[in-house]
Structure formats: structure tokens, C-alpha cells
Symmetry: C2
């Protein structure tokens, strides 16, 4: 009895597969048995802290493959195993029925069956013994017989002593926010309503109604710690800063404190705790940034010089990308001589902010730190706080991004901002939703970030911003934007060909008119409320692209049960585009000639439709897309 | 430093991947490192009995994937491992060059490099130390410098103490016959030149020139043991046999002996040894049949009743397929109480025939015996005789066939006889050549067997036999036929819809006119000599199908270095078919508009050709296909 090709597993069980608490999860395996015996199998899932596993019978899918569907309800580190065996009782019953129906004498077969049932009886709990006794009684009479079948069904759930047991495969169960959410990034110091002073955490509290109206689930703040003064960067990343320049929040640490402190210019730890509570009241989680590096004035530089790498002359090694040197940043030496104390201190940092109420972290450049460190850190955090979410900001080579997802990151930034053509978009979203990494890599697609003002937004129209928003919100259960630059359609870069914002908030305080006429905020809020109302948009496994005869229009559906959403986006920001699409109605569980209504969640328009073919025309002057719910006659 | 997605591996190293002695083997892995360090890696291959592994440097293929090419020369159980490390010396040299070229002061960098080289020096063998010393000397001068680069190259082959080592992955190295050969099956008792007596092993010796002229590499004989008399089957599988009926060779064992004996009607053990020697003199290996079952008169039934399963009344259990019972066959109880002794006895049987000179076995119905038995038996045999070949006759579900290949079978019969349409043929041969099982599952495609006279041959013309032969010989490095029924184009089945031969040699002696006019034997011999001359046809990894605008014509190529073979077969046995093909010349390493000549290995005809498009017309009245070698101007 061989158990092969078990899913969901990652690298043969080396890393956990991931799923969501409350979601149905299909566990499948090839159960390969020599000869012609029938096979029975169960799946056992062990929840964190559980004394014993819960058992689910597997059903055959044909071709030696079986499946059990389970629904974990707790978050945290689970495990599961498959147990399969050549089921002699089921095989005996099948064969005996065949002999019986052919008119053969089955006296011997019945004696043999009775012996098999007696052996099973010895291994059963008291309440099941009566089932066997009834079957033994019934074996004297004609077959098929329901009492005998009840005993056979019992055998199908009762592993024999020679059953094959798979390894225990780890399974990470996360909260729904791990896979579905709208992220909004904002610099607290740019949140001031008063143009004469920088913003504070208190100003962010005042902005919560705005953020809520946008439909955000997560409000992510860049680092809120004291900012280094030594080699501080000035506006537009200039090497010389004036006394009034605030510096980059990622140059962490000054006399006021390091990773455990709140920048006094922003407020206090209490202000943060208040913001977290107020945000949660609005249904918004506050995400903080974990950036494992220090400014030269970080207290740890003096207190723990052994936490940094040193050069041959005894000075601390700067960050560098040869031949460039970053004199305002010291990386931690996570594999250095005092590794254990440093790792423990960083775990302490995460727990400090968790204790302040934070459950979501965006992690800066995790790919420049060792994989074993992340595997240890995230496991330690999850052991106490199983629902904490880590978003990996690793814009690097694909296999490195995947390794980070394997070692524990809940989500990852993606290449979305650089996927622009129809075929790039289809290939990439198919890879995210259905590729070999989909058991552990969850993409969070961002329209822009403080580091990335994509060329298409710089060159684009209002329709470009709307199109990118619809692609992100309509195709990916998790997406994000950096505001208010996004909704205010900021498009000036520091230089031609650069993706850096001009006058970037990374290096200076900005004051924004959040309520400027023409802001996309009302549209974004409307879109996100529609998203929230449609379960089809909350997961990615149902994403499917459909044919449309125009290379500038993308057509897709997502589905959850009876909820079906049909999206169209035009990639042309200047000209009207139209086309005929051909929907794969069978894949949507619909009839080939079915008549239905599509209701545009963006404009409230309704159109009648029949069959697979349909015509759309998209105007960049209004909204360059549709997000339809499909309304069937029957529903 | 993570090592992922290593190939060739099977189930994460649970089973050996397979390769051929003397063939180049690419070993690849993803080497995933945090940060921006350069990665170095080696592959170590350990041959059977070797004291130390042989080491090969890996080269980067880009996208974090690396490859080493190795060529094992011995057959038997090898293992390999990948060792990879963040190469601080290579990284230091790259970074220092970048600083140097930017005009920065690199004094500190040179000091740090010297320290790294000193550390490497301490771990080196004597002869390499001079390389380091020369580099240390050269570090005072300008960079780049060849002495320093020699030391960096040395570092690339010298794993550091913190290098990551993959598990040891098993690798089975087989002789070329494991993947490439023409098999011919013949009943010795049908080999008599005298219609008044059955054939013997001596008659088979006399047939060797015929078999050699056919181009066979392996001559496979059904079981040659004494045949049981109890419940012996008569002609056409009838339940009543007359005294003169010889019975089925698969009903093994009688008073004259069991699996260790030669049927006295066929000859003696010496006759077999003589046949093996004579065949090898002709370049032909004799394959015997391993059928693990007994007739009721097998000596073991009385000597070792515990080697058989018993029913509730104490009688021995027959083979059955409910409601059918096979009263002439007792299966062995390979999981019974005397399991160890039975397994040892069966190993003894295999070694007995190996000692008689046999190196190739066709194994009857291995899927009705436990996988662990086969894994043990084949490993035991290979430990002493590493070049023995086992062909699995498992016509069963795909995953069972694959599991048998994983646990040790060298080759397997396939579904070829039931793949008839163009799309079925293309899909199936692509699966065999390129599917996920191709690292361990080697298909041997047969045109027919004593059990399978396919419907297309029953209904077909001479062209059908030729077409099936060309498909098998042209697409698969290993193929076989059951003769002389195949070359004499026997097509009568026992009943409509049945694949059983009428008057099957399984149950009666037949006498054949091997030299009948119209026999396909001369064509087969010609085809197999062409096959032998073309290395392209000796492996399957280069198989590629090309477009042709006719659903009755299959077009494919195989390639090995400069040897390129282009095949066409028409599946229409009655009408002339023609079509335009479009060859993927780029995939063949040829120029888009290249002019070349195709030379038909079957008819010696030559045609000029230019570019991808070409016209073919295939006539079932002559030969329904081409097997071209492609002759380029340059070669």
C-alpha cells in the first residue's frame, strides 16, 4: 500500500501548506495498492493543542486518487496525515457478492468473512461491537444485507494494524485577512490637516473615517521609530539634510530610542495603542513596518556593537550595493558571533508591538536576511500569537520570494506593478492563483508604493489609475495602494525613467488635500464595498480568464458558490475599445444557452445576456471596465 | 542557502532516478541564497564500491538554477549530492572590482580579501596552497589580476564549513539495453522445423540466424519449466485437455520440477546455457519469464504448503477474478506466515537462471504481488548482478505501473497497443518521453503479445502491420513483437471483439512457415539495421512531434548530436494520404530557410527540401511511412 502525491504539501512536508480558518480544504492522495483489493483511507487532522486528531473518511476520485474535505476552525500550526489500507472486509464483500450473484456456493466465503469481522470486532470500541454482532448474525441469510453493509462501512473507517500511514504534514491555518484584504499605506507625518506642522499618530486617528470610507482593511504605516541624524538624507534622497529635514523613517534609531520606541514627533506608545484600538473599531487593522537595520545613532550600535559586522579596521560595515555605500544604514549581522542574543532581541521587538495591539506587519527587505532567521522568528511569534500576519516586501528573484513564503511569510508583494500587457497580466495572475507555488505563496498586488511609481501611471490618464485599480481589486483577494498619492493621481517622478516619486514622502513631510475634487477616493470606496459584498472576490482559486477578441481588453471571472463576478478592463487609457467575448459557461456551472442578467457593481447598469458570446465597449473617459455580478434566472 | 527542486530525483529521493552508463546526465538544482552573495556549488557522485565521490562544479543557468553534467560509467546503485554555499571570496572579488573601477579606495577591501584567502588556505591540500600564496602576493597590485582570479576559481570548488549539503539522492545506472533494444518473443515449442514434433531449445538455437536477421537484441521465451497436469487447459483455453495437449507454460510445476527446472520436452539446463551462449554470440540476449505462481502439481505445493494461502476449509486458495476461478493456478502467499523463506526461495530462482547466463527477465503480472517484495528482490539481485534487466508485464492502472517502475523494474510494457488515433499516439509518446514519470518509467512498446492481438491488426491490411511497426521502432528506443505471428501477419482472433489469438500458442503447439512469401521479416530486419545505425533512435528524450495538416499522418523527429531522424506514418491502411508539414527547424538546431536532403532509410529514396514546409504522400500499397535521415549541406 503506497501513499503518493499528497496535497496540499510543500517540498514533501519540509514546509507547511497554508489554508484559511473556516475554508473547506481538500486533502488528496494517490493510494496505490498491488493486486485487486479495495482500498480504504482516512485523513487525521491535528489542531494546535488538541489531544487527539479529527478523522475524515477519504472518498475515491477514480484513477487511484482519493480525497477528504476538512474545515479547520482554529488558526495556527496544524498537521495532517493520511492512513490507507487494503480493506480485506470490503474486498471480501465485493467478491462474495460476485460469487453469490453467479450462483456459486458461498459457504466458505461466508465463513471467511465471519473470521474477518471477528478480527475487526476485537479492535473496536464498545459501541461499535453491536454492529459486528448484527452482521455476523445476518451472514446466515441472503446477501446483500444492510447489517453486513453497516459492518463493511465500519471497516472502511477502521485502519488495520498493517495500514500505511503517511508522514505528518504540517498545515498552517491563517485568519481570512491573510488572503483577503485591502491595504492602504500612509505616512503619519503627512496626515496633518495643518500645513504648518507635520502629522502625528493622533492625526492618523482623525483620518480613520477617510480610510474606512476607502474600504481599507489594513492601514500600513512606514516605520514610526526615532530617525537617525548621522548622514541623514535630505529631500529627494540628497546626501545633505538641513536641520529641519525629518529623514527617512527606515534609518531607524536615535538618542530617543530604537526599534522599541515611538518617534516623539509622532507621539507615544499610548498614542499608537489608541490608534490600534480606534482603527479596530472601524474594522481596520494597523500594520507596522519591521525593518531590521539601524541608523548610526541607534542605541544598539553603542550597546551591542557585536550585533553589527565590522570591517578590517574595526569600523562598523555600512549597507552597500557596490560601488554604492549607504552611510546612513548599518545592517544587523544576523549570523554574527552574538547571533542568539540579537535574534532574541528582534523577537522581543515584534512581541513589543504585538503587545501594543498590532497583528499585522509589513517586513522590509526580508530577502537580505537569512532564511533560517525568518523561519525561527515567525514560528516563535506564531507559537504565542497564531493569527499574526507577515507581509514580505521582497522585490527580488522569484525563487527567493518563494523561499520566504515557504519559511513562514503570510503574504508577499508581487511583480504586479510591472505586468502591463494583456498576456503578461493573464500569465501572472494565473501563476499566482494556480501555479505550483499557490499552496504557500499568497500575492498581495499593489498599484504603487513609496518606492514604485510605475511608468504607466506616470504616462497614464485617469483611466490608467482606474484600470490598474480594477485589475488589482477584481483579480486578487489582497491588494494595496500607497495613498493619498494613488487616489490623488500623483504622477511626477524624480527623473525620466525613474520610478521614484518627486518630493517623495520617504524624505520629507508632505501636506495633501485629501478631499481634492477629482480624487478617486469615492470610486475606490464604492469598489471596495462591492468587493466586500461578493465572496467570489475573497479568494483566488476560482480565477479564470475568458476569450475576448481584443488584445486591449482582459476578461475574467471569479466564483464562490452561487456568487459569480465577471470583470472586464481595457488597458487602453486613451481610446474607446470594444470586443466580443466568449465565456466558458460550463466552467461557471451555467448552461450553454442560458439567459442571464449582468449587473455592473461600478455603475449599477444592468444588461441582458444570453449564451457565451457578449459585446462590451469600454470608454476611458468614464470607467475603463466593468465589474459585473451575474444574476441567473433561478437565483 | 537553500537547495531545492533537485533533478533527477524521484519522490524526494525515496526511489532512485535512472540513467544509462556512458550517457551524459544533467544534474540540476535551485540554489537559493538570501542577500546578494554569489553562490558556488558542486555535485558529488558516488559509484558503487567507490571509496570517495567524484566532484563536478555546477554552472549557473540563471534564475537561481545550476547544472552539472556527469557521465557515470559503471552500472549499479550510485548516489549523488549537491553542496552549495554563499561564496564569500567570489562575492568579495566582484564587489572589490566594482569599488576599484569606481575609483574608491580599496585598501580595506584588500585586507579583508586577504583574510578570506588565508582562511581558505588553512583548509586546502598542499598542492593548492601555492595558488593562494600567489594571490596574496598579487593583492598588493592592480585588480583584476589572474593570480587572484585563480584563487577565486579555487574557492568556487572548495565548500566552506557552513556549506549546505543536500540529502544523498539514489541514482540507478543501467546498461544501454535497459533503454534501447528490439525484443522478439517466441514459443520454443513452436520453433520446430519438423511439423511432426514440438520445438525444443535446440530448435531455438537453429532459429538464431533468423532472429538475428530480424535485428532483435532480446529473444524472450515464455516460461520453460515443467507444466502442471492437474486442471490443465486445452486448446483455446478450454477447460478439458486431452492427454496430448501441452498446457499453458504459465501453469508452472509438475513432478519433473518447478521454477528451477527445464521442461524435459524442451531440453535441459545445459541446453539453455548453450542457447544463451549461442545467442550472445549473435549479439542477442535470452530473456526468461518470471511467473510467481504454481500449478497444483508444483513440488512446492507439497513441500511448502505454507507458501500458499489457505481457505477456511484448509484447501489451497486458487487464483480468482470473482466470479471466475482459475483452478490450474495457485498464487504464492507473499505476505504469509513463511514469507521470509518464500522470498529467499524466489531470489534463489532468479539467481539460478542468472547463473545459467540469463541477464534479462520479463516478469509476469508483477502488479498482483506486493511492492515491497519487488523492491527487495530487485535490489538483492542488483547488489550482486548490477546489469540485470527486469521488464514489468503490468497491464494495469497507470499509478500501479509507475509504482513498479519506482520500486525497481527496469522497463515496463505500455498502453501502446491501445493508442490508435493521431492524438492518442502523440499524447502517449509525449507522456512516455517527457512526462513526470520519465525519470524512472521506461516504456517498452509492443505491437502484439500472446495475450494481445489488437483490433486494428485483426481488421487491418499489410499497411497496418507496417505502420504499427514504424510507430514502435521509430518513436520508442525499446520495442517488441510476438513472432512469428507478427511478421506472418496472423490476424484471426478466437471471437469477435476478443484480443485472444485463435489457436493461441499459449495452449497448443504451432508449426510455422517462417520463410513464407510475403512475410514482413525482411522489412523488419532492414528497419532494425537502420535503427541500429542511428543514435537518434536509441533514446527518447529528443522525441518531438511536428505539425502536419492531415489527421491521418503523424510527423516526428528524434535527434542525437548531428544525427537527425524525421519520421512520417500514415494511420490509414487503405487510402493514399498526403499533407504539408511544418517542421520546427529551430528546435532541431537548423536554420529557418536551410536547404537539406532527406534520405529514406526504408527505401533509399532521397529528396531535396528547403525550409520548414514539406509535402509527403503515403501509399498503403507500398510503405505507409518514411523514416528519413536529415542530411545537411555542412555535414
Amino acid at each position: 500500500m503506497a501513499i503518493e502525491s499528497v496535497v496540499p504539501t510543500v517540498d514533501g512536508g519540509r514546509f507547511p501548506a497554508k489554508c484559511i480558518a473556516g475554508d473547506a480544504l481538500a486533502i488528496e492522495a494517490d493510494l496505490v495498492c498491488d493486486g485487486h483489493d479495495l482500498v480504504s483511507a482516512i485523513v487525521q487532522v491535528t489542531a494546535p493543542g488538541a489531544k487527539s486528531p479529527t478523522t475524515t473518511e477519504m472518498e475515491s476520485l477514480g484513477n487511484d486518487r482519493s480525497r477528504a474535505v476538512v474545515t479547520p476552525t482554529l488558526t495556527g500550526a496544524h498537521s495532517f496525515r493520511v492512513i490507507a489500507w487494503a480493506d480485506r472486509i470490503s474486498t471480501w464483500y465485493r467478491d462474495t457478492l460476485a460469487f453469490e450473484r453467479s450462483g456459486a456456493d458461498t459457504t466458505l466465503d461466508r465463513r471467511e468473512g465471519a473470521a474477518l469481522l471477528q478480527r475487526l470486532r476485537g479492535a473496536l470500541r464498545k459501541r461499535d461491537i453491536a454492529v459486528i454482532d448484527a452482521a455476523l448474525q445476518a451472514l446466515g441469510g441472503p446477501l446483500p444485507n444492510p447489517e453486513v453493509e453497516r459492518a463493511v462501512a465500519l471497516a472502511r473507517r477502521s485502519p488495520t494494524p498493517d495500514a500505511t500511514t503517511s508522514p505528518d504534514y504540517p498545515l498552517r491555518v491563517d485568519p481570512p485577512l491573510a488572503v483577503c484584504g485591502v491595504w492602504y499605506e500612509m505616512f503619519p507625518r503627512s496626515a496633518s490637516p495643518d500645513p504648518d506642522r507635520p502629522g502625528t499618530l493622533a492625526d492618523v486617528v482623525a483620518r480613520l473615517p477617510y480610510v474606512t470610507a476607502l474600504g481599507a482593511d489594513v492601514l500600513y504605516l512606514p516605520p514610526i521609530h526615532p530617525i537617525g541624524r548621522s548622514h541623514r538624507k535630505g529631500p529627494n534622497n540628497s546626501l545633505e539634510a538641513s536641520a529641519s529635514d525629518p529623514g527617512s523613517p527606515w534609518a531607524i534609531g536615535a538618542a530617543e530610542g530604537g526599534h522599541l520606541a515611538v518617534d516623539p514627533d509622532l507621539g507615544t506608545l499610548d498614542d499608537l495603542a489608541h490608534l490600534v484600538t480606534a482603527a479596530r473599531h472601524h474594522g481596520v487593522e494597523i500594520a507596522l513596518d519591521l525593518a531590521w537595520q539601524a541608523a548610526p545613532d541607534h542605541p544598539w550600535v553603542a550597546e551591542h556593537p557585536e550585533w553589527f559586522a565590522h570591517r578590517a579596521d574595526g569600523t562598523i560595515r555600512h549597507a552597500s550595493n557596490p560601488p554604492k555605500l549607504y552611510q546612513d544604514i548599518y545592517p544587523f549581522d544576523l549570523e554574527g558571533p552574538d547571533r542568539d542574543a540579537l535574534w532574541a532581541a528582534l523577537l522581543e521587538v515584534v512581541r513589543h508591538w504585538i503587545d501594543a495591539g498590532v497583528r499585522v506587519f509589513r517586513v522590509d527587505n526580508p530577502h537580505t536576511k537569512p532564511f533560517p532567521f525568518w523561519e525561527w522568528l515567525i514560528a516563535q511569534v506564531h507559537e504565542r500569537d497564531s493569527d499574526v500576519i507577515f507581509l514580505s516586501e521582497a522585490f527580488t528573484r522569484p525563487k527567493v520570494m518563494h523561499r520566504l513564503a515557504k519559511v513562514g511569510f503570510t503574504q508577499s508583494y508581487t511583480y504586479f506593478t510591472w505586468r502591463e500587457t494583456k498576456s503578461e497580466i493573464i500569465d501572472y495572475f494565473n501563476e499566482l492563483a494556480h501555479g505550483p507555488g499557490s499552496a504557500y505563496f499568497r500575492g498581495n498586488v499593489w498599484t504603487n508604493t513609496p518606492d514604485i511609481l510605475p511608468g504607466h501611471l506616470q504616462r497614464g490618464s485617469r483611466a490608467t489609475f482606474l484600470a490598474r485599480l480594477l485589475l488589482a481589486a477584481g483579480m486578487s483577494a489582497s491588494y494595496g495602494m500607497f495613498g493619498p498619492s494613488f487616489e490623488l493621481m500623483v504622477r511626477d517622478s524624480i527623473a525620466p525613467g525613474s520610478e521614484e516619486y518627486l518630493d517623495s514622502e520617504k524624505y520629507q513631510v508632505r501636506h495633501w488635500d485629501f478631499d481634492a475634487p477629482g480624487s478617486l477616493a469615492p470610486f475606490i470606496g464604492h469598489l471596495n464595498r462591492a468587493r466586500r459584498a461578493h465572496p467570489a472576490l475573497h479568494r483566488n482559486d476560482s480565477l479564470r480568464f475568458h476569450h475576448i477578441d481584443n488584445d486591449q481588453i482582459v476578461c475574467w471571472t471569479k466564483q464562490c458558490g452561487d456568487d459569480r463576478v465577471l470583470g472586464f478592463v481595457s488597458l487602453d487609457s486613451w481610446q474607446v475599445q470594444s470586443g466580443w467575448c466568449g465565456l466558458d459557461l460550463a466552467a461557471l456551472g451555467m448552461e450553454p444557452d442560458e439567459a442571464f442578467v449582468v449587473h455592473d457593481l461600478l455603475t449599477d447598469a444592468r444588461y441582458s445576456w444570453q449564451g457565451a458570446r457578449g459585446f462590451v465597449q469600454l470608454d476611458p473617459g468614464t470607467v475603463p471596465g466593468h465589474l459585473f455580478e451575474i444574476l441567473r434566472e433561478a437565483t
